[in-house]
């Protein structure tokens, strides 16, 4: 069955659980820094190493960020709630319980609206709760860092205790064939909302935003099917691929008269399909209970109201405003949004580029490159400041379009800012009049017949001489300027 055939027969129901690592300066329950890339086990203390006797104290900024996310997702904020302990043993979790929330989440019952192909879909938010991240484990002795076949593991607790916010959607039925795209659009919208709040850098590639996708299929009119949970979905593109591949996989099983088992599956970036996790004999019993070392959270309504009032412009509203400012069509804005380029273009404009210039680079050369590299646009390797600098060099006549592409290639390759790449690669429009005049004169001298034709008024023949000059200047001259100079030297302008 093709994908479209499947969707004429089955109805998918999806759900998403998204973890966002907050960008607080310190961890959730201790004062250790959260800097990325520090030496192993240098951002740890008695609390986050779970030394005997140590106690947690909640970071106000973590609570505030969670509430702001909840408000931005139209949630109700709990008047009183508690943290809970989720008990299970794993070596990257120092206490062997995760401080999390169970039946008393900080935020509940919200929604996010997303637009796909001009239609708006409302994704219900079940809950938004606060918890802590685990450490990082390196598996040694097996193939390429995988747990399978490893002979030992090495643990770094620098990440342990960094605040995580988990955002859980309600099950979303009725999306049909668009389910994968809507799932992706939801995650993109969520990412934009969280980013607009400034509470996280929400970089999927760096793991500061991670997704689990639940998928099930049912026949029309029947009860929802058994769902699987796909973990390890670490890019926007993967969200879409994971839902699609899981729909296809489940449909094949159902069509064979098979059964779907409730299980955890892992998304494979390389193949784009999902693989089963270890099946557990019995469901894990996390033995949640209220965390006695932390006191209840009872947000002052006045504080919540002030947080609500100070929420930034909604990304959807902002997009409408930007579309106006940039003077582009709804369809173009949609593709900018889907490419994850809104903020990038906005920041590029803020850094001095024209709207058209900024959009041209991000939606053209860089989008193509991101696609080749199979990464999100934000991860392509160029920053808005670099793109703006590039556009300024073009505007100033120092780069022509062809050279600018080469410079951008260098920027993406990590060779530095545009000016660095220009210097290192020796790329610049030749506008030294002396050198250019010599090149033009040389070209005239070398092609007397063509020069004569031009003098006789056959200006169209100038192209050949311009080409010759461009060749001797290795493309670094501005073709328009060469043409003007040529005609001037031949006395026809």
């Amino acid at each position: 069955m093709t994908y479209d055939e499947i969707l004429t027969k089955y109805e998918p129901v999806i759900g998403l659980e998204t973890h966002v690592e907050l960008g607080t300066r310190t961890k959730m329950f201790c004062g250790c820094k959260t800097d990325f890339g520090a030496e192993p086990n240098t951002q740890v203390c008695p609390v986050c190493l779970a030394l005997p006797g140590a106690l947690p104290v909640a970071n106000r900024a973590g609570i505030e960020a969670t509430i702001r996310i909840g408000l931005a997702l139209n949630c109700d904020i709990a008047e009183w709630c508690r943290m809970a302990r989720k008990n299970y043993f794993y070596p990257d979790m120092p206490k062997n319980f995760q401080t999390s929330q169970y039946d008393e989440p900080l935020c509940t019952d919200g929604y996010v609206d997303v637009t796909v192909n001009g239609t708006e879909y409302r994704i219900g938010i079940e809950r938004v709760h606060l918890e802590e991240d685990t450490g990082k484990t390196l598996h040694v002795g097996g193939a390429t860092g995988r747990i399978h076949g490893a002979t030992e593991s090495l643990v770094d607790y620098n990440r342990a205790g960094i605040p995580l916010v988990e955002i859980v959607t309600k099950p979303v039925p009725g999306l049909g064939a668009l389910a994968p795209e809507i799932a992706k659009a939801y995650v993109a919208e969520l990412r934009d909302i969280v980013r607009s709040l400034g509470v996280s850098d929400v970089r999927m590639e760096q793991g500061s935003m991670r997704c689990d996708v639940n998928t099930s299929l049912n026949l029309p009119g029947e009860e929802w099917g058994t769902r699987t949970e796909t973990k390890n979905v670490n890019s926007l593109r993967s969200v879409e691929r994971a839902v699609r591949s899981e729909i296809i996989r489940q449909a094949a099983i159902l069509d064979d008269g098979g059964k779907i088992f409730q299980e955890t599956r892992h998304f494979q970036e390389t193949t784009g399909d999902t693989r089963p996790g270890r099946s557990k004999e019995t469901a894990t019993d996390y033995r949640y209970f209220p965390e006695p070392d932390l006191v209840p959270i009872a947000p002052d309504p006045a504080w919540v109201a002030s947080l609500r009032e100070s929420l930034p412009e909604k990304p959807s509203v902002k997009r409408a405003r930007l579309r106006e400012d940039w003077g582009i069509s709804e369809v173009d804005m949609q593709s900018v949004t889907n490419a994850g380029a809104v903020e990038l273009i906005e920041e590029t404009i803020a850094a001095g580029a024209s709207p058209a210039g900024a959009r041209k680079w991000w939606m053209g050369e860089l989008a193509r490159r991101a696609n080749e590299l199979d990464v999100d646009l934000a991860e392509v390797g160029a920053t808005p400041a670099q793109v703006a600098a590039l556009q300024k060099l073009v505007d100033a006549g120092k780069l022509n379009d062809k050279l600018a592409r080469q410079v951008l290639e260098g920027v993406v390759a990590g060779e530095g800012d545009p000016a660095d790449v220009m210097a290192a690669r020796g790329l610049e429009v030749v506008n030294d009049t002396g050198a250019l005049t010599k090149a033009v004169d040389d070209a005239i001298a070398a092609n007397p017949e063509i020069a004569a034709k031009i003098r006789d008024g056959k200006v169209a023949a100038a192209g050949a001489l311009v080409g010759a000059v461009m060749k001797t200047t290795r493309g670094q001259a501005d073709a328009k300027a060469v043409r003007e100079l040529l005609l001037e030297r031949l006395g026809v302008s």
Partner: protein
């Protein structure tokens, strides 16, 4: 009837990561049965409408500011480790979750 079976005790020991011996299982099952029958008396209290108490002091909203405090050095962090390598805690192989 026993409040708790030997099998249940064995399951709980596994959940708690305790490699208890057969003799311990026999002994604990008997002792826990006595204890459980006794503590089960909490069920005699009519408490449907009574809110549970998880904290004995009525404090709420105790927070710290998002300001870094000194961490341990790597040497201090690893000082008590049974095994460490290149700044990390070393542990035996972890059972594979994917197979």
């Amino acid at each position: 009837m026993a409040a708790i079976s030997r099998e249940e005790v064995a399951h709980l020991a596994r959940l708690s990561r305790l490699a208890v011996t057969e003799q311990e299982l026999d002994r604990f099952a008997g002792q826990l049965d006595v204890i459980l029958q006794s503590v089960a008396r909490v069920g005699e209290v009519a408490a449907e409408d009574i809110p549970p108490t998880s904290h004995s002091v009525p404090l709420t909203n105790v927070y710290r500011d998002d300001v870094p405090t000194p961490s341990l050095t790597q040497d201090e962090a690893l000082s008590g480790a049974p095994d460490a390598f290149e700044g990390r805690f070393r542990v035996p192989r972890i059972l594979d979750e994917e197979d």
